[in-house]
């Protein structure tokens, strides 16, 4: 069933304020999002409270990630060397198209007609599934949430919990319809059993798998994947051929760095001390697990982010989604309004940058700059700072075009700047505003309705009319009277 949600492609998605409207009118979805984020947040808070060294862990993680980004090239080369030495094959993809071509090429050589997939955001970023489908290769998602989305033809709305916008009765409906299980109940056990029955056979028969990576370890050439269900573990161990797609920023210097990262990730992402399944492997091992192993390292705009000092911190992200759960904007809109596989505060800074600032320019403005994201970020990404930097870039784009001539907000900001440059002008502007707003001000001193941009305020809020005397006028009058 197509729910009419926009496809998560920033090139075609409507701007955030428009995309948010249908969600705001969907109480079921908002309830689902608020409930799920509340549950994760309270678990996270409980588990963080038991770590007396939480802030030290954050600082350590931030330092590790900063260090990686400052030395990314050499760590990637080290990873490539170690992974290759352990029997893996490393491929470098500069963009989404190249990554898709590499993966398709491998699948063609292996004569694969089906693949099983463990949840990978990066494959959604490069829109891998439609490309596979077009090549006649069916991709089976195996993460429970991804199964729900794939069967229900839904789009992911969260980085860690992609089907967070659906509740279990909606999941039941999707499973009952697509699996032909009329008597299915919405008991979570029954739902997971249904998914297990549906997929166990795929795990046992499909010899090719695609995964993402939570971390790559330069020192050993290892790959780490964390998940909750064990379906990923099956994808990583049962098939003969495994392809891992990873953004170039995922690398860590040393194996020991996982100690810091895994503690932070599990607590931040799902409110668990440790993820139920942490899979770690290095190249191939004769007679055990996949015998042909490929890693596709994806740039897709990341190196241009890396080149910019303020924006670089975006790449520190370990995809825990704590910023989504705490974000008061995300909590109202859910993920689809962001028009990207990366929603929420991190998506608001990552998506436009991955799009080289040519698309998704409304996303840096989709924040009240409340700072909750920065406070929870386990690797201390100053998301508000990056949002401001990107806002400034968007405004500079507007400056370069004549379009701003018709943009009231832009004109207002330019006028305000000239007004604030002089106290005399500011005083005159206050007087002018008082006159201009007078016709809209009711007898009780309040404004209930304004035209144009002002209507954006008064559609839900009254505004107090301007008092007859500004503070500076009062101060001047008082000084004159000699106090």
């Amino acid at each position: 069933m197509n729910t009419g949600q926009p496809v998560l492609d920033p090139r075609y998605a409507p701007g955030f304020p428009i995309a948010a409207l249908p969600v705001l009118r969907n109480p079921q979805l908002r309830k689902n999002v608020a409930h799920a984020t509340d549950v994760i947040q309270s678990e996270r808070a409980r588990l963080i409270a038991e770590k007396s060294d939480w802030q030290e862990l954050r600082s350590a993680a931030s330092a590790i990630r900063n260090h990686v980004l400052e030395n990314l090239g050499s760590y990637l080369e080290e990873f490539e060397a170690r992974c290759t030495a352990a029997g893996g094959t490393v491929h470098w993809a500069s963009d989404a198209a190249e990554a898709r071509a590499i993966i398709l090429d491998i699948l063609c050589q292996e004569q694969a007609s089906e693949v099983i997939k463990i949840k990978t955001m990066t494959s959604a970023e490069i829109q891998l599934n439609p490309a596979l489908e077009a090549a006649g290769i069916h991709a089976y998602e195996t993460d429970l949430a991804e199964i729900i989305l794939q069967l229900g033809e839904e789009e992911p709305s969260h980085i860690v919990v992609p089907a967070l916008h659906l509740n279990r009765s909606q999941v039941r409906e999707i499973f009952a319809r697509t699996m032909g299980l009329k008597d299915l109940t919405d008991d979570p056990k029954a739902l997971t059993a249904a998914a297990r029955n549906y997929f166990r056979q795929k795990f046992l028969t499909i010899p090719t798998a695609i995964s993402g990576a939570n971390f790559l370890v330069a020192e050993t050439g290892s790959v780490a994947v964390v998940e909750s269900e064990g379906n990923g573990r099956m994808c990583l161990t049962l098939p003969r051929i495994l392809i891992t797609l990873a953004g170039i920023e995922k690398v860590l210097p040393r194996f020991a760095d996982l100690e810091v990262m895994l503690q932070l990730l599990a607590r931040s992402a799902t409110g668990e001390r440790m993820s139920p399944y942490t899979s770690l492997w290095t190249g191939v091992t004769a007679g055990d697990g996949p015998q042909r192993f490929h890693v596709v390292l994806l740039d897709n705009g990341r190196s241009s982010i890396l080149a910019r000092p303020i924006e670089r911190q975006t790449l520190k992200c370990i995809r825990c989604a704590a910023c989504l759960n705490t974000c008061p904007v995300y909590r109202q809109t859910g993920g689809h309004a962001y028009g990207s596989v990366y929603p929420g505060p991190i998506g608001a800074i990552l998506t436009p940058q991955l799009m080289k600032m040519e698309f998704a320019q409304s996303l840096p403005f989709a924040s009240s700059l409340c700072g909750a994201c920065y406070e929870v970020c386990p690797v201390k990404i100053n998301i508000p700072q990056v949002l401001l930097e990107l806002r400034s870039q968007v405004v500079n784009q507007e400056r370069g075009q004549a379009a701003w001539l018709g943009d009231l907000m832009f004109l207002g900001m330019k006028a305000a700047n000239s007004i604030f440059a002089s106290a005399r002008r500011f005083h005159a502007a206050q007087a002018l505003c008082r006159i201009a707003l007078h016709p809209f001000t009711r007898k009780d001193g309040w404004i209930h309705s304004l035209p144009s941009l002002g209507a954006k305020w008064t559609q839900t809020r009254d505004l107090r009319g301007l008092p007859s005397q500004s503070f500076r006028q009062w101060w001047a009058a008082r000084a004159k009277e000699g106090r």
Binding site: L21, S368, K456, S470
Partner: protein, 250 residues
């Protein structure tokens, strides 16, 4: 003690009663208050909307005006957060060494009102009387920008007659966000509705904060809904005494 009041552009224009309350309060506490007539805006609106070049000029102007000032008091946490968090980056980009030096010297002398009272003057009991049920909204910038912590609560707890009602989800944004409330008016309104549920559940008579911006947002919705609550800046509560209740707008 001498201090200079940076009233902020929107308090000057929209909430002069807050400014008058600051004057009354601080003069009662023995502070010799000054007002620089050339002051306008700290540049926050421009900086937060992406107009960095414009914010530069206002930040530069602010430092120029207050360079020689002993102490600056600001009854708005978000403007102080702008100055503390964003000016350094702006001046670094400008590459103006004199400006950077002047600002570094000025920065420790700039105080948000509750900081000024508790840290600089070292008072918590300001001799106020306000016999009402009050809930406190922690604005995002006071909470996560300035880290004012429990300073406002300590001040409110010493106000005679005042009953402070705790607010659920106190750390959650009201949805104002400056031009966010215009650019994303619908999402902002949804955030406001959620916040207002918690605020109204306190059944307080007043909702107070360190920022009239959040209060304008919350108060605008309260007025629209004929809600049994109104908003009041912390300064106005602290300035109130038995003989002189707070001056409130209509």
């Amino acid at each position: 003690m001498r201090a200079s009041l940076f009233i902020t552009c929107y308090n000057d224009t929209l909430f002069p009663e807050t400014g008058r309350a600051v004057v009354r309060l601080l003069e009662r506490l023995g502070v010799a208050l000054e007002f620089h007539p050339k002051q306008t805006c700290c540049g926050q609106m421009h900086a937060n909307t992406g107009f960095r070049a414009e914010a530069f000029s206002q930040a530069k102007r602010f430092v120029g005006l207050y360079r020689e000032t002993e102490t600056v008091v600001v009854p708005s946490s978000s403007c102080v957060a702008m100055i503390r968090d964003q000016y350094p980056g702006l001046f670094e980009d400008l590459g103006d060494e004199t400006l950077r030096r002047d600002f570094a010297a000025l920065l420790p002398r700039i105080f948000e009102l509750s900081e000024f009272l508790t840290d600089r003057l070292g008072v918590e009991d300001v001799g106020a009387y306000f016999p009402h049920r009050v809930t406190y909204h922690a604005s995002c910038h006071s909470l996560r920008g300035l880290h004012v912590g429990d300073r406002p609560m300590r001040l409110l707890n010493k106000v005679r007659g005042l009953e402070l009602i705790p607010l659920e989800n106190m750390d959650r944004c009201c949805g104002f966000g400056g031009t966010f409330s215009i650019k994303n008016a619908e999402v902002s309104s949804a955030m406001l509705a959620t916040k207002l549920q918690d605020v109204m559940a306190t059944r307080a008579e007043y909702c107070t904060a360190l920022d009239n911006s959040c209060l304008m947002h919350l108060g605008g919705a309260m007025h629209r809904q004929y809600a049994a609550m109104r908003t009041i800046h912390l300064a106005q509560i602290l300035a109130a005494t038995e003989g002189a209740p707070p001056e409130e707008a209509a």
